[in-house]
Each structure stands twice: as structure tokens, then as C-alpha cells.
């Protein structure tokens, strides 16, 4: 057994680094903890108005008319907008634009309801006034005539032939393209549907595979909608300029998305919109889209003054995307020696009021950790009368893993095999054929499992009644995309680095560290900022655990640009060729004359006379983000009188490729686990029979606090990603994939009953215990 300490890094990388792998203080840290950092709602402009949104009181209703005249007449009100004021792009599936998985018709209809209110809280109209209180009063004066319809709140109900249709003309797609849905052509006689998409993957012969199995487990699990739970509500401020251009301030996971979406919905070119990213108080995927910015822009245009709109917490819960509720069936066959022979699964995901649930992610991840020769997976994207779902950390994968990883636990029990040994026997590795077809790239599943097996947590006896231990693994593909970085070298040898990725997890530090490593300078000499859309090249969203990979790649490339420019300047100074000059340990030196040497700082001081400012820049779109994989071990205890579950110990082991800043990798892992524990044990949208959420505050929506959790131990396993100069693979999402399954498996170990529905709250646990006492289970 290895001598483990909490939060340890196990690496297969013997490269020596000076900056990579160290733990400097984050550049934005002091401002954030002293209240100096500016978040989206901190913007205040001269003459600024305050916008408020009228929202639907019904989960499903036809909007027969809207009368805003009384609101407009209220003193202090400067503008009122409805869907009549917003552009309504075509919703044909073939007309989705710009390569993005967004249907602008649906985006427009979500920002301001058109014709129908599709969920409780759906935006109906907005008011801008001199004060927020006047705006709120004005909302009460807007008269909306609704024809209330029966809502459909559940995906299985929505799939029935006679279910109420959320959209009368929704097209059911069945192509490889998992697009954000579409509407039928006007001349298409087909009936609308609530099934926005249905897709399949097949590998080998599942029937033959099950015939080879000694044991077969079949089960169904279900999960309910949970919210990402970021502390900072959505907010956006818009100001028009005399030349017809627009500035937007907001907190998002992508200022370029804010720019593009706003431009499209207010009808101006993207070059006329400057989107300024503010600090972000959490996103977890849900700030990849937007709600307020185009409405603020429409109000500001009408009022002739800047407008700020901010959501309340209730609005965040009711009108911004939670993740999907799901139903997932899985069938798993294995030999008595523990080899998986076949697996099949059906995933049904609620998309909310508009198509685009994360079911593709769930389907593509759920079996990818394993070498399964025969498999079939199908996925359904189903619209219901709930807020449009948005991404939440490894979108789709946690629910899918809840099904797959608990099924594995059942197989292990049937054949009497250790669950880590079972996973080792079946683990995916480089060259394994994934169920979705492609071969697996280099990934450290085996190394992570070996680390879990060797961890003292796994072998330490767990004694006492109603205590149990569970294990589960998880997979996430990670994403990349275009990214930009520009570095200005100052005469004092410091660097101002502008990057395009909003920083939600310490990436200013991890990106700067990669630049500092190339240049051989202290990371403290680099001052990173996140640029607006007019000051940095296009950069794809902060999502998919991609920033340290792609924007780190951009910073690495910009640093190489600086290095090359400095080599050319030194060659000019010394009147030699660039082949005679090398850059070593933060200094330029002649390869054969040790007298000729200039440090980075000395060269920076001489940049003007040697040719002008030195500016390093890079625009990249690097492939090969490399997947992420993790294994978790959890110990828990059940109170048999109350059903309360206490997490006693938690260890998360994860392949990080290369931990550029280990503290922030650990922080990501611990944060993901904490959210996963909340998802597993407590969190849920509690919906009444009218389709209304009745726990839309943090008093009633039970997220875990530090008092609910033990210290979450982490083990960073480093199996370098060969597609990145420092071996980086994304770390921010896969950590939320295993917790629900691990906790369910531990609960079974503790009480002998399998809980297959989330949340496994005290009521569910008590019912399970009573069921067992009554001879159930």
C-alpha cells in the first residue's frame, strides 16, 4: 500500500517543470475575497433604468392577448416590450445557423414567449423604469388573457400518443445530427410531437452477447430535475450608442455567445455588439445560454437609456435551465468470471419546454469507460412544460452513470467479484472500441482504478450497523474549440495577457502558468485579464472542461511567438543569425559565446530600439482534448429512525492528464463531488399538480452545505494527454459523474435495499427500510 496523504498527485510524467504543477495564488483572488471584483449586477451607468420581467403564472397556456397600455402610462415607466418586439427567426431544422447547436426561433421564444406560455415562469413581457420598484408596480398593470391548457410535466407522459403537445409543429428528428430540434415545414402534413429526437448506437450483436452471459441484470433508474445552484443570478445590462452599436455587460460562460445571440435577436450585425464579460459567480453549464441580455437591449433601444435586468433567486429557479429529469433502463450481461458480454440501454431525457436535453452526452458516455463488445443505446429528447434545460457539469453523464454503475454493482454482487477488480477487467484503454464507434484515445482508467485499489480508504474496515461503502466510476469526453490569447510585453519585463475565456475555476492562473513555463519567468510577472469581444479574438465558451486545454494552448503558442520575436531581436543586436541564438531558462544566449546573454527582462527593456513593441498572439483550435475518467469511494451511515444519510468519508481519484495548478484541480474535484452528493441525497424540483415549482428558494431547495460534508479527499492521477504540450486534459466535469451511483451502491451496502430513484432523501430511505422490513426489496 502506498503512503497516501490527503490530496496527493500521482504522476507518470517525469518532466521537470518550474511553474507547471506549482500552486501560486490566483491573480483574481484578492479582489474576489475583498469585494472589489465586479460581477454583472455591479454595473451602474448614468441614467440607467431597471428592467423587470412579467412571467407566466401557468405551466401551459395560450397567450390570447397582452395589454400593456396601463403599464406604459405609469409615471416612471420608460419602455415595455413583448415578443412583438423581438426577432423571430425560422425554426426549420435545416436553417439552424452558424454551426451552433442553437435554434434561434426557440431561443427567441424562450427569451420572450410567443403565442404560448410553455412553463411556469416563462417570460411574457418586460418593463424598464426609473426604479426597480416602479418597474415591479408596472408589471402588475400588464393585462394578459390566458387560455390555460393542461400541462405535461413528465417525459414518459409526454411520449404518449394522446399527450398534450408542447409545440403543435415540432418535428421529430431521427438523424445523426442531434440538433436543437426544429419545426415542421408549413406544407408537411405530419402531426407535431413531443419527441424532439430519437437516436441509436449499436455495436456488435447484443442478443448474441447476452446469450454468452452467465448473469444478466436489468433495471430502471429515474432522476428528477436539479438546478446548477450558482450563487450569482443572471443579469445583463445594455447600452446603445449613437452609431447604432450596442454594449452589453453580463456574466456568462462565453461573451461571444452573448454577442452572437443578442445580435441575432435584436437584429444587428455581431460587429455592432460589444459584449463585456464580468466576473462570474458560478455557472456549471447554465451560463452557456442567456435570458436577460437581448431583453435589456430591446428595452434600452425603446427607452433611449441603458437598462439593467437581474433575476431574483425564484426567477433563477423557475426560468433558467435546470438539468433534465430522466428515465434510464439498462441491461447488462457478464460471464461468471466478470467479463461484460453485452449491454443495452434506453435513455429518456426531459428537455424542458424546448428541444435540446443532454441525452447525447449521456448516451455517449455511459458505456465508454468499458470494453463492451456488444451493445445498443438509444436516446430520446422529450419536450415537457418545464423550463428549458441547460447544461450542467458533464451534461447527461451523471444520470447515465447512475444507471450503468449501479447495474455493475449488481452484477458484481451476483458473481461475487470485487467492484474495482471487475472494472479493471473490463476497463477501456487506448484502442478500445467505444460503443459509439470510435477508438478510445490514451486515458488513465486503469491507472485510476489501480490507485483506488491501493488507497487505504478502500481497504480500511468499515464497521458498525447501517454503514456501507460504495464505489463507482465515471467518464466524460471533454471538449475543446477555438481560443485566443494576446500578450503584451512591458518594458519592465512584465506581461499583460488578454485571454478570451471567462474564468470560472482559476483558469487565469492555469493559463498564465503555461505562458510562464514557456518563457521561464515567474507566473507573478504575468497579469491575465479576460477580454471583451472587441479586444480579443473569438474564443469558444468556457465549458466542456476545455479552458486549461484550449486557452492554455493559446497562451503556450503566444509565448512561443514572443520567444521567437525575442530570438530575432537578440540576433539583430548581436549581429548574428537566429540559428546562433537560443532561449534557455528565461534568457537569450548565444550558443557559443557565453558573453552574449540577455534575460527576458533585459530584452523587454530593449524592445523599442530593436524593432518596436513585442506582442505575442495566438488563435488556435486544437484537437484532442482527451477524455476524463474518475473513480470514487464513499462511506456513509444511515439513521434508521429518520432515514438521514451521513457521508462519513469520500475519496475521489481522477486522471487529470497534467495538473497545471493542483489546488484548482482539487477544488474542481471537491466541488463536483459536493454537487453530486446534493444531487444524490436531497436536491429536486418539487412540482405541484399544476406544474408549479414550490421550493424555489435556497431555504427550501436543499443544497448541501459544508456542515453536511466531510473533507473530500482527492487523488490526482496524471496520465498525460499526448495532444497537449503539457499533457493537460479537462478536469472540471467528470467529478460529478460517479457520486450518485457510488452513494446508491453504498446505501445498498448499508441497508440491503437498492434505491433507484433520485433523490435518495430521508423519506425514500425510510420507505426502503420499511419495504425491507415488510419483506420487500
Amino acid at each position: 500500500m502506498l503512503d497516501y496523504k490527503p490530496n496527493i498527485v500521482l504522476s507518470n510524467d517525469d518532466q521537470e517543470y518550474k511553474v507547471i504543477g506549482t500552486r501560486p495564488v490566483r491573480p483574481d483572488g484578492a479582489d474576489k475575497v475583498t469585494g472589489k471584483a465586479s460581477y454583472s449586477a455591479d454595473i451602474n451607468l448614468p441614467g440607467m433604468l431597471f428592467g423587470k420581467m412579467l412571467r407566466s403564472p401557468h405551466a401551459h397556456a395560450v397567450i390570447k392577448s397582452i395589454d400593456t397600455s396601463k403599464a406604459e402610462a405609469l409615471p416612471g415607466v420608460r419602455a415595455v416590450v413583448t415578443s412583438a418586439d423581438i426577432l423571430k427567426p425560422s425554426g426549420r431544422a435545416s436553417e439552424l445557423a452558424e454551426g451552433a447547436m442553437v435554434n434561434y426561433k426557440f431561443l427567441s421564444n424562450n427569451v420572450l414567449a410567443d403565442g404560448k406560455a410553455l412553463y411556469k415562469g416563462h417570460a411574457i413581457a418586460a418593463v424598464a423604469a426609473a426604479s426597480p420598484h416602479v418597474a415591479e408596480e408596472a408589471l402588475k398593470l400588464i393585462e394578459v388573457d390566458y387560455e390555460v391548457l393542461t400541462p405535461v410535466m413528465d417525459a414518459k407522459e409526454a411520449m404518449k400518443e394522446d399527450a398534450p403537445l408542447v409545440h403543435e409543429r415540432l418535428a421529430g428528428l431521427t438523424t445523426a445530427a442531434i440538433r436543437a430540434g426544429g419545426v415542421l415545414d408549413d406544407d408537411d402534413p405530419a402531426r407535431g410531437t413531443n419527441i424532439a429526437n430519437h437516436f441509436e448506437f449499436k455495436l456488435g450483436d447484443p442478443d448474441e452477447g447476452f446469450a454468452q452471459a452467465d448473469v444478466v441484470v436489468e433495471k430502471e433508474v429515474s432522476t428528477v430535475a436539479v438546478h446548477q445552484g450558482y450563487i450569482e443570478p443572471h443579469s445583463g445590462t445594455a447600452q446603445w450608442h449613437e452609431d447604432g452599436s450596442l454594449t452589453v455587460w453580463s456574466s456568462s460562460q462565453g461573451q461571444f455567445t452573448v454577442r452572437d445571440y443578442t445580435a441575432r435577436l435584436v437584429g444587428i450585425p455581431v460587429s455592432k455588439v460589444r459584449a463585456i464579460p464580468m466576473e462570474i459567480g458560478g455557472g456549471f453549464g447554465a451560463k452557456l445560454t442567456m435570458y436577460m441580455e437581448p431583453v435589456a437591449a430591446l428595452l434600452a433601444r425603446k427607452a433611449g437609456a441603458p437598462v439593467k435586468m437581474s433575476m431574483s433567486r425564484t426567477e433563477v429557479f423557475e426560468a433558467s435551465g435546470p438539468t433534465s429529469g430522466t428515465y434510464i433502463t439498462v441491461k447488462l450481461g457478464a460471464t461468471k468470471e466478470g467479463k461484460i458480454t453485452a449491454a443495452t440501454s434506453t435513455l429518456i431525457f426531459e428537455a424542458g419546454a424546448f428541444p435540446g436535453s443532454p441525452v447525447p452526452g449521456g448516451a455517449q458516455c455511459m458505456m465508454s469507460a468499458y470494453d463492451i463488445p456488444n451493445a445498443y443505446i438509444e436516446g430520446y429528447d422529450v419536450v415537457v412544460n418545464r423550463p428549458k434545460t441547460s447544461a450542467y457539469r458533464a451534461p447527461g453523464s451523471p444520470a447515465a452513470a447512475f444507471a450503468m454503475e449501479t447495474a455493475i454493482d449488481e452484477v458484481c454482487e451476483k458473481i461475487g467479484m470485487d467492484p474495482i477488480e471487475f472494472r479493471l477487467l473490463n476497463s477501456s484503454k487506448e484502442g478500445t472500441r467505444r460503443v459509439t464507434g470510435p477508438l478510445m484515445p490514451r486515458v488513465g482508467f486503469i491507472e485510476t482504478l489501480e490507485a483506488a485499489k491501493a488507497h487505504p480508504h478502500y481497504s480500511e474496515p468499515l464497521e458498525g450497523p447501517f454503514r456501507g461503502r460504495g464505489v463507482a466510476s465515471g467518464f466524460w469526453g471533454n471538449n475543446t474549440g477555438p481560443s485566443s490569447a494576446v500578450a503584451l510585453v512591458h518594458p519592465d519585463g512584465k506581461i499583460s495577457l488578454t485571454e478570451g475565456s471567462p474564468d470560472i475555476g482559476g483558469t487565469r492562473a492555469s493559463v498564465s502558468q503555461q505562458m510562464a513555463e514557456v518563457l521561464g519567468i515567474p507566473v507573478e510577472d504575468i497579469n491575465p485579464t479576460v477580454g471583451d469581444t472587441d479586444s480579443i479574438g473569438f474564443t469558444s465558451n468556457t465549458g466542456g472542461s476545455g479552458v486549461t486545454f484550449k486557452t492554455g494552448f493559446a497562451a503556450y503558442t503566444a509565448a512561443q511567438d514572443i520567444k521567437q520575436q525575442m530570438i530575432e531581436r537578440a540576433a539583430k543586436l548581436w549581429e548574428v543569425t537566429t540559428d546562433d541564438v537560443e532561449y534557455v531558462d528565461g534568457a537569450l544566449q548565444h550558443k557559443s559565446d557565453p558573453e552574449l546573454r540577455l534575460t527576458f527582462q533585459q530584452m523587454a527593456a530593449r524592445q523599442t530600439p530593436t524593432g518596436g513593441p513585442i506582442v505575442g498572439s495566438a488563435g488556435v483550435n486544437p484537437p484532442g482534448a482527451g477524455p476524463a475518467i474518475g473513480t470514487h469511494i464513499v462511506d456513509l451511515e444511515v439513521d434508521p429512525d429518520t432515514g438521514k444519510v451521513t457521508i462519513l468519508r469520500y475519496t475521489a481519484l481522477q486522471d487529470a492528464g497534467k495538473a497545471i495548478h493542483p489546488s484548482y484541480v482539487e477544488g474542481q474535484i471537491q466541488g463536483g463531488v459536493a454537487q453530486g452528493i446534493g444531487w444524490a441525497l436531497n436536491e429536486e424540483y418539487f412540482i405541484n399538480d399544476q406544474g408549479h415549482m414550490v421550493n424555489s428558494s435556497y431555504l427550501d431547495y436543499r443544497m448541501p452545505t459544508s456542515l453536511d460534508l466531510p473533507m473530500i479527499d482527492t487523488v490526482i492521477v496524471e496520465v498525460a494527454n499526448p495532444n497537449h504540450p503539457y499533457g493537460v486534459r479537462g478536469v472540471g466535469e467528470v467529478c460529478i459523474v460517479p457520486p450518485m451511483a457510488a452513494i446508491s451502491n453504498a446505501l445498498y451496502d448499508a441497508i440491503g435495499v437498492r434505491l433507484n430513484s433520485l433523490p435518495m432523501n430521508p423519506g425514500s430511505v425510510l420507505e426502503a427500510l420499511w419495504s425491507k422490513d415488510n419483506g420487500g426489496a
Partner: protein, 89 residues
């Protein structure tokens, strides 16, 4: 020749075949040559108006998701997969 793995929901266009071999040195050429043999495939994978892959389609060549889509180089021994693109959180 490169081998193209046909998505399950498109196999009705290829007579049930889930793997086919077609000429092509780029993803664009592969799609064009697929269309010659299996009409209808191109409309599902290719957006003529945008001159790009359809929104939401990812192409994976030799195990790596391409960032340049139609322009991605394809080798004689390459495997080409068309999969739903997935977004992160």
C-alpha cells in the same frame, strides 16, 4: 480506402451496412463520394447554405474529434465516424 462508420439511424440509406469504404482525402471528399453511392447521405451530414457539417454533427477521424470538419485530412487507413456533437457544462 478510408472506412466510414454509418450512424445507426442512417443505415437505411446504406442498405443496412454499418461500415463502408469510400475514396477521399478529406472529410468533404468522403461525404461527396458517399453521396454517389448512397444518395441522401449528404443532406443529413452537410449544410449546403453554410458549406459546413450540419449543426450538431461531429466528425471523428481516427479517434479524434475534428475541429476543422470538412477540411480534415483522411488517410487511406482512416476510420471516419459521424456522431452527435455533445456540449459541455
Amino acid at each position: 480506402m478510408p472506412e466510414v462508420w454509418i450512424p445507426t439511424t442512417m443505415q437505411s440509406l446504406t442498405g443496412g451496412q454499418h461500415r463502408v469504404q469510400v475514396e477521399g482525402r478529406t472529410v468533404r471528399q468522403v461525404i461527396n463520394n458517399l453521396e454517389q453511392v448512397y444518395p441522401g447521405v449528404k443532406a443529413i451530414l452537410y449544410d449546403e447554405e453554410e458549406d459546413d457539417l450540419q449543426a450538431g454533427v461531429a466528425v471523428i477521424v481516427d479517434g479524434e474529434a475534428s475541429q476543422i470538419g470538412l477540411l480534415e485530412r483522411v488517410q487511406e487507413t482512416s476510420e471516419v465516424h459521424f456522431l452527435p456533437a455533445i456540449g459541455g457544462g
